[in-house]
Amino acid sequence: MTSEKQQKLEALALRVREHIVRLSTDGGCFTGASLSCADLLVYLYADCLNVRPDNLTDPTRDYLFLSKGHDVPALYGTFVELGFIDKARLDQHLSTDDHIYWHPNRNVPGVEFHSGSLGHLPSVALGVAMDCRMRGQDNKVIVITGDGELNEGTVWESLLVASAHKVNNLTLVVDRNHFQANVATEDLIPLEPLAPKFEAFGCEVRRIDGHDFAQLEEAFAALPFSDTKPSVIICDTVRGRGLPSIEARADRWFCNFSSEEVTELLKELHTQEATRLTSETLTVR
């Protein structure tokens, strides 16, 4: 990945994180969960998928299904930055005048399907992928799940079916932030070793750092991983990424901050990001 592209994506991700922090007040949102997949969503929509505001009804577009519905603030932020929706709509968060609330729904342009009940969209994405294949289209069908969501049997059930039907245009991406809602995954329902589990279910698996744009680019460029198997990309991520004061904390899944706290967090975000950008820019050079 060129450093120019890297900087562009990082700047975009920073702005998406700002949106997430701003949505974390006055009713709040799933802040920690959203921050872990901000980089992933930014990379996918800004640099990878063939989905734009002007092709949302084109059946040959790529599809992204956010099965982990809590992450929708990251999706809203990405959609604002890329022109899918107007920024003013975020001011309507939790207002019944709009459809901007805690889970994705199709009244928001770019959202392919509603979610919130966990373990649903792997099978919906499977149906879409099957139809794309039936029509000879080679567009990507991506579904993002949380790692806590992997407790749901239907995730595995749909992979068994996808594998049996050799649906290789389906890619399951796991936002592996190591937390369920309130508890660390390994303390409740341990998932490791995770990659072999997916392999045993007939999938071709890669595991990457979900905050590293270069690794994201390399993994997604290699899709499909197999001619006959569904692909799985496990993205190791950090809950609350970008805000050290809330990173990797079980109690920062859902946050409802005061406006003073939001101001402080925005400062923290910029300080951290400035430090990171500087150090990484130096490292690259």
């Binding site: 059946p59 969209l121 099978s123 919906v124 499977l126 149906g127 139809d131 068994l160």
Partner: protein
């Protein structure tokens, strides 16, 4: 009617590219479709939830999936998937529930879909149908599949013993009008109510009979008309008394502030005793003779004149 259920699906699917036939490994009635439909026949294996989700995905892409699974697992095991993916999505997914109600005769309580009408009609936008027999079903399916609404059909391939009137969405079939008693029913018990009506008429009673067919939308006009006509209304159904036709009738009457004398013949707070279909009807009191006697006794008369007659029924298949 010369066409079978399978042939109707085949003809419809061959004429309409949008149709995809899916099953959770329930092929009893559709064994010949895989060879004919190729990739438009999808068997997800014993995965009712994934079946529903994948159907929603296919419907998002403009397909009209017709889904076959055992009624109880389809409506119960996958209930939240139907409600959430199909219901909230308002997608034209057509649910075909095999062996609903008493048609699951020998399987035991695990397989008894006797709350399916209640569950399915509770989903906003979902339409619900219960054909009296195969002919009734074949007459209604084209309209159901052509509709943009999600639909649940209680699949019933029992041969017809009655020549039905043409199907009209949301309209009941008025078999007969009567002033003393009107029997309201749907599904496989229709043929037993025909017998019950004959027996009651032999007692010089004026007996009406209505095959509801379409439970959602319901024919309110027909229900209000019989309530206004007076006499005893009897709901007969192979379903729990809660949430089925008796509940529908009660809701309609109350909404219109009408009162009526109503006798619900349905399953109370228990699962039915498994056995051969004829034995089940006999044991549970749903043969034509039992129905007639229960009605007569409800009217405060002796049912002794109605001899216990056999329920002449053959089990078609067991899943």
């Amino acid at each position: 009617m010369t066409m079978t259920y399978e042939e109707l699906i085949k003809e419809t699917a061959l004429a309409d590219e949008r149709i995809v036939v899916m099953t959770a490994e329930n092929r009893a009635l559709i064994r010949n479709l895989p060879a004919v439909l190729g990739p438009r026949f999808i068997d997800t294996g014993i995965t009712e939830q994934t079946l529903i989700g994948a159907a929603a995905g296919l419907a998002l892409r403009g397909r009209v999936p017709i889904l076959h699974a055992l009624a109880t697992f389809l409506t119960l095991r996958a209930f939240e998937f139907i409600r959430t993916d199909v219901g909230i999505g308002q997608l034209p997914v057509k649910l075909s529930g095999f062996v609903p109600g008493f048609l699951s005769d020998g399987n035991g309580p695990t397989h008894q879909a006797i709350e399916d009408v209640s569950l399915m009609r509770g989903i906003p936008g979902m339409t619900v149908f219960a054909p009296a027999d195969e002919a009734d079903m074949l007459a209604m399916l084209p309209a159901i599949w052509a509709s943009p609404a999600p639909a649940y059909v209680r699949i019933n391939t029992r041969p017809a013993t009655y020549e039905h009137t043409p199907f009209e969405m949301g309209k009941a079939e008025i078999v007969a009008e009567g002033t003393d008693i009107t029997i309201l029913t749907y599904g496989m018990l229709f043929e037993q109510t025909l017998v019950a009506r004959e027996l009651l008429m032999q007692q010089s009673k004026s007996v009406g009979l209505i095959n509801l067919r379409s439970l959602k939308p319901i024919d309110e006009e027909a229900l209000l008309a019989v309530a206004r006509r007076g006499g005893l209304l009897v709901t007969v159904e192979d379903h729990f008394v809660t949430g089925g036709l008796f509940s529908i009738l009660a809701e309609v009457l109350l909404r219109h502030q009408l009162t009526a004398r109503v006798l619900p013949l349905a399953l109370e707070e228990r699962w039915y005793r498994p056995g051969r279909l004829s034995a089940v009807l006999e044991y549970e009191g749903f043969t034509g003779h039992h129905i007639a006697r229960r009605i007569t006794e409800h009217l405060g008369e002796s049912g002794a004149s109605i001899a216990a007659g056999p329920a002449v029924l053959e089990n078609q298949f067991a899943e």
